[in-house]
């Protein structure tokens, strides 16, 4: 090889390194860096951006008051959110979580929405000994062993979500049940819980079907389900699945006496816009704050205050549950920083554990297990009942402690 070629080889190979980036600056205590990811596109885009907005909402309010109080430094320090777009891709998310931890040297990491995008952050956080604040990653699989580096703060482990639903169906003596669920941790663990609960009372679903997380057309599946004549059809999906399911249900002309989906309870307005009030009427869902209200809170705003404050900064828009979840993650982090004597990952984790069972926020009771699971709130069951003016009223039908009306079952056809 000629000398010229050799130089070329060296130069070209080295180019990769130079281009890869410059060394980063060390973090300064002048600002608390909160790192997070959101999905600008893909399956989780809508929900993920809702969570991100909730977190931003918290940061803005905290900074308006001069920052978050950090006990270890005994002063208020402004908060800065460092956020990247992972496009709903786990491999992109892996690189980006790593970027947050190793390059941006953030002080706390908040995982992206949902179990799928949270999953890859868990081993990374553990490896780098970072506490992962997990607002909505609720797969039961995450919380199998004791850990110092994971805290599910805003929603209960998805394995416990459907408990009230199972109880309600039992109470109503509904025994012929069809389940359609997305094959992902979030929906799969709910389906598993439901089936386990049914088994206890000797009920086997008459229709039980997993669909890809990206499924958008339920027309054919609905006909197969109808052939099994279930009294209740339960569809467990992510937001886009629920939209597609309800649309397909409406256009198919099929009728089931009881239909349940997850997200209308969290994104009622969006669902009404996308599938129409007509498609939602008489269906059931988990009503989530702010749809159900927590008036007595001892950390942050209560539901009404939150709705009003949100409206002021968001042109009068109503917040949804995931917005509240993002906000909730913020106030819990702030509380941890405000109580932990040391500004360390372990210190803040201990503070989060110490708060467990003593706090109620906009999303309800807060109870953190040593494995990082959230055991606080249980989600009730609500039905969307049409009113005379054509609007839909969210009526909580179970459990009795939250109940605002009776279920209309079976739902009238047409």
């Amino acid at each position: 090889m000629k000398l010229k070629q050799f130089r070329l080889a060296v130069a070209m190979a080295a180019a990769a390194l130079t281009a890869a980036g410059a060394a980063s600056a060390a973090s300064a205590p002048s600002v608390i860096k909160i790192g997070t990811l959101y999905a600008g596109s893909g399956n989780f885009a809508v929900a993920s951006q809702a969570q991100y907005k909730g977190l931003q909402f918290w940061a803005k309010r905290v900074n308006a008051e001069g920052g978050v109080y950090v006990k270890a430094f005994n002063k208020k320090i402004p908060v800065k959110i460092v956020a990247y777009d992972d496009q709903s891709s786990t491999s992109t998310a892996t690189t980006l979580y790593n970027q947050l931890i190793t390059q941006d040297k953030v002080d706390l990491v908040v995982s992206d929405f949902g179990s799928v995008l949270t999953s890859v952050a868990i081993p990374l956080a553990k490896e780098h000994k970072m506490l992962l604040i997990d607002p909505t990653g609720s797969s039961a699989g995450f919380f199998k062993e004791k850990t110092d580096y994971l805290a599910d703060v805003s929603i209960p482990s998805s394995a416990v979500w459907p408990m009230p639903l199972a109880k309600f169906l039992e109470q109503e003596h509904i025994k012929k049940i069809g389940i359609i669920y997305g094959s992902n941790d979030f929906d799969g663990s709910q389906a598993d819980t439901l089936k386990a609960e049914f088994k206890k009372i000797g009920v086997t679903p008459v229709f039980d079907h997993a669909v890809p997380t990206g499924e958008r057309n339920y027309t054919v599946l609905l006909h197969s389900a109808a052939a099994a004549h279930p009294q209740a059809l339960i569809e467990l999906g992510y937001l886009p699945n629920d939209v597609a399911f309800l649309k397909s249900l409406k256009s198919s002309g099929l009728h089931f006496p009881f239909v349940f989906t997850i997200f209308p309870g969290q994104f009622k307005q969006l669902m009404e816009k996308n599938v129409g009030a007509d498609a939602l009427k008489y269906t059931y869902s988990y009503p989530a704050p702010p749809m159900i209200k927590y008036e007595k809170v001892n950390l942050g705003m209560n539901t009404d205050q939150f709705v009003t404050a949100w409206g002021k900064t968001h042109k009068g828009a109503e917040p949804n549950f995931v917005n509240a979840g993002g906000y909730n993650a913020g106030i819990l982090m702030a509380k941890a920083m405000g109580t932990s004597p040391k500004f360390t990952q372990l210190g803040m984790h201990q503070a989060l554990l110490d708060m467990s069972g003593k706090i109620t926020t906009v999303v309800g009771a807060y109870k953190l297990s040593p494995t990082g699971a959230q055991l606080g709130q249980r989600l009730p069951i609500a039905q969307f009942q049409p009113q005379k003016d054509g609007s839909l009223k969210t009526v909580v039908v179970y459990p009795d402690s939250h109940k605002t009306g009776n279920a209309i079952y079976p739902s009238p056809a047409g």
């Binding site: 090889m1 000629k2 010229k4 070629q5 050799f6 070329l8 080889a9 060296v10 070209m12 190979a13 080295a14 180019a15 990769a16 390194l17 281009a19 890869a20 980036g21 410059a22 060394a23 600008g40 596109s41 990247y84 777009d85 496009q87 891709s89 786990t90 491999s91 992109t92 892996t94 690189t95 980006l96 979580y97 790593n98 970027q99 190793t102 390059q103 799928v116 999953s119 890859v120 868990i122 081993p123 990374l124 553990k126 490896e127 699989g141 094959s183 992902n184 941790d185 799969g188 997993a210 890809p212 997380t213």
Partner: protein, 310 residues
Amino acid sequence: MRESWFKRARAGLITAAVLALVFSLAPNVYNNSSLLFMMMTYIVLSQGLNLLYGFTGYLPFGYVGFFGTGAYATALLVMKLHLPIGLAIAAGPIASMIVALVLGPLLRLSGAYFSIANLAASQILFIVIGNPNLQDITGGPYGVKIDEVYNPTASYAAMVVLVVVVTLIATFFRRSRFGQGLKAMADDPVSAEMSAIPVVRMRLLAWLTSAAVAGLAGALYAWNLSVFYPDAVFTLEISVFAIVFALFGGVGTVLGPIIGAGLLYALYNAIGISEPQYFQLIYGVLIVGLVMFLPEGILSLLTRRGINVF
């Protein structure tokens, strides 16, 4: 008459040594090791794809299928049989070579038919492995988790070794009679047969080598990531990146895919971390521009000036 093997391999040995040095030292300078690891993964994949496309003219659009197969073979052997990680990694390329053998008949197809059938084959692997009905065997759409063997440092080191190995394989393809025979086949398979070149056997050999490289890359990727879903190792984006990187640098050379993957992946992270949607646009424009104005890649700018590119 011919130069000694050492003279022929020298450029490759130097390139491999430089790459080993750069990636061994890089984590001291820049400590997002995930990013460096991914850059090496793409250097390996682009080079592996180059072994097939650059030397035989077969463009494997479903190249990611081998990558995913390797990743899953490794992960499942650790999860189900609790094999030591070293053995499980060795199984990655073996599994992908088995898949390549099964798909061997695709090599009977020409040009675009091969590419599109290969793409379909990778989708079939994805749908089968990610199928909910196979949850008990493959983990289905719920993915796999091997965090008990999670070791970012060791897997990083292993990937450095793979970069070296694949550079040496590419050097062999570039500088040996075997590689010359492959080039002859790409130019004209019938004439190659008439030059006593066992076309079918050599093409299959290149195919298997290329598949094994991707399988091994997948195995190391699985080890490095330790938790992943089927779409993370079967996404078409991986094929696309490997193709674009290789084309950008210049296929049929050793340096081309290395430069293409190194530069573009760095660019991807410079732009992609903050504005990923613009990146797709830039890639698209880059591909169209390359085909229209620079079908041999950026290294052909040197070749055109009479500089012999390794």
